[in-house]
Symmetry: C2
Subunit: 385 residues, 2 copies
């Protein structure tokens, strides 16, 4: 087990009927005016918008709205919202939505106090020193952003999908009400599950770790797999939703990384290039394609872990190989309706070179095996069909 420092100050408010408490929490913290950020309007259909607006009103909290944050969120929207936040002297950001909204809100919160372009934080030119307090109402569980200090945004001009991390952008408070997710389309549940599973796997297949956290990882992944299948059949099964939501939060709130070297994260780098190349490809879909391909490419290095994964997650027994485990994972992804090849999502063979170039901007990356351009190209080739 590697040494570590764990510090996660986010207050997590979890359960039925918690959305309407947002106004009280803000008031208790002395916040009088927020920038309310949301996406394409699904929160107006599922009743969340109305509950939030009423709760703000009842507690005397002013708001200014910015909407239209899209999946694979873009930098221009972040710039727009920073402008609005400054012009209106807001005291906090209230993000109401899924990972895209929350990640954008983190960039806005940090950008509020930064004189340059907040993209500097994503490219390592600015180390975030201060941010507006961030409050979250999560309406789609997947990325774990509600309880960590990470944000991923795409710079549409450069086609770069980069991230930054800072202790200053951990949400002060995140509300997760599983019932708000009853109306999510099935593919969002599927991609959310794959995203969260992938977060845990990035740590599980790290070169270091511990039996304890491996067991916790296995428990989180098993729960995500079981509950995804239940939710696809019964979208309003509260227990399944609640287990799913909590599992996605724990997948990336620091717990699963304790005692590792920090995770491998190659598959995420490889995926970011795919969805930067084509923003219509969901992050979870890209991960379903690229993670098993990465596993195949480094299977020598992770063979023991793959066998352990097969036993403890899939309940495999008797004689089986690392390849069998990878195939089992792909089968499960197919079963829940996810793509497992680049071809399926409309990527042509010729595009592989372009995507390789995009991914190579961050290379070398990976701890299990340090990936350079040639490795990256080979993994995309494995992932092709």
């Amino acid at each position: 087990m590697e040494n570590f420092v764990f510090h996660n100050p986010t207050k997590l408010v979890f359960g039925k009927g918690t959305v309407e408490k947002i106004g009280e929490y803000l008031k208790k913290d002395g916040i009088r005016k927020v920038l309310m950020l949301y996406g394409g309007g699904s929160i107006k259909k599922n009743g969340v918008y109305e509950k939030v607006v009423r709760s703000l009103h009842d507690n005397g909290i002013e708001k200014v709205e910015v909407s239209g944050v899209r999946p694979n969120p873009v930098l221009s929207k972040v710039h727009e919202a920073i402008q609005v936040a400054r012009e209106n002297n807001v005291e906090a950001i209230l993000a109401v939505g899924g990972g895209s909204v929350v990640d954008s809100a983190k960039a806005i919160a940090a950008g509020f106090y930064y004189d340059g372009d907040i993209w500097d934080a994503f490219i390592g030119k600015y180390n975030v020193k201060k941010a507006l307090p961030l409050y979250v109402i999560l309406t789609m569980s997947a990325t774990g952003t509600e309880m960590n200090g990470n944000a991923v945004v795409t710079n549409e001009k450069t086609q770069e999908k980069f991230y930054f991390s800072s202790k200053h952008v951990y949400p002060v408070l995140s509300i997760v009400d599983p019932t708000t997710q009853y109306s999510l389309p099935a593919n969002q549940v599927v991609y959310g599950a794959i995203d969260a599973i992938s977060h845990v796997m990035e740590y599980y297949f790290d070169v270091a770790g511990s039996d304890l956290i491996d067991r916790i990882d296995e428990g989180i992944i098993k729960t995500l797999m079981e509950t995804t299948e239940v939710i696809l059949k019964e979208p309003e099964n509260y227990e399944a939703r609640a287990n799913f939501c909590l599992a996605t939060t724990l997948a990336l709130n620091g717990l699963t990384g304790l005692g590792t070297t920090g995770g491998d994260w190659s598959s995420h780098e490889l995926e970011h290039a795919i969805s930067a190349f084509n923003p219509d490809i969901a992050h979870g879909a890209g991960l379903a394609i690229v993670f098993p391909a990465w596993m195949s490419y480094v299977k020598e290095q992770i063979s023991e872990k793959l066998i352990k994964f097969g036993k403890n997650v899939f309940g495999m027994s008797g004689e089986f190989s690392p390849d069998d485990v990878i195939n089992q994972l792909k089968s499960w992804y197919k079963k829940i309706g996810a793509p497992v090849t680049l071809k399926e999502v409309g990527i042509n063979k010729e595009d592989i070179e372009k995507i390789t170039q995009l991914a190579n901007k961050h290379a070398p990356f990976g701890t299990v095996k340090e990936l350079k351009m040639e490795d990256i190209r080979k993994i995309y080739e494995i992932a092709y069909e």
Copy 2:
């Protein structure tokens, strides 16, 4: 799954060679003078005292010492230290030791700002409003106190062993260096393991919960059982120590209680009366005796959970009963050298009435079954031999 609010602001610094960083951390937080609290002097034998003193000195931090905190810590020592803290205008408490030292430090930190007797916090007469910041160097992993807001202290005048909880006494920072525990006597490892396992079981056998947290609970308990056996044979096995230490912290930092009604805690109430009656009985020893007896008494209510526990923790298969699982737990306690009856620790049959009276001061308690005086007496009778 029940609704919950989770908020744990403690920074956990974990690993080899972390003790000597305490001075830097205090300095960074602007602390200039601490009350350094410790126990019977084992930290002078294992080198921790010297490392701490040097680190404080190197960072220009003044200290005033109070030592002699004993296992099953007592209120009079808390009173003494509050006096010293006030006379010396300390800015923080630095607890160096195990659960007894840290719990005492929490009472001191809260008592510093309270005009009355801090015992009022333990008997529900005072709701803690403020406390000195608390820094911890943990030298014995067991209670989880390094990452929660609970403290247990015995009022030796009234023979009451009570607890209080407050968000104000979460440690600001806790350092856990597993190597400092290499020299712990075997029985402290055994009782620490039983204490931590019992914390998880209090939540596991709650009337509510979730598959996800059950899996995490099972993983923590299995890890504690495996690593205890390794440590008893190889006290300087770092991986075993590190897994053990982290498991005890996670056992009671809030994680294992997520989505429960708050745990049952009857066994802890029943144990506190035993070690209040005879402070020479270690908390872990008392729990090894009383928890299986409680399980037997309420086995109708927890039969399904006992079967799940047997399967997933002990790997039991085929036909087995709840009683078999309870016996398996007792066997494991015996295997590692713990007592499993009151008789073994020198309690006489006549003492049962006195202990029942002590426990009854907090009755009724328990969520699985609300225990009244008659129930309490019966459980002690089951635990007798």
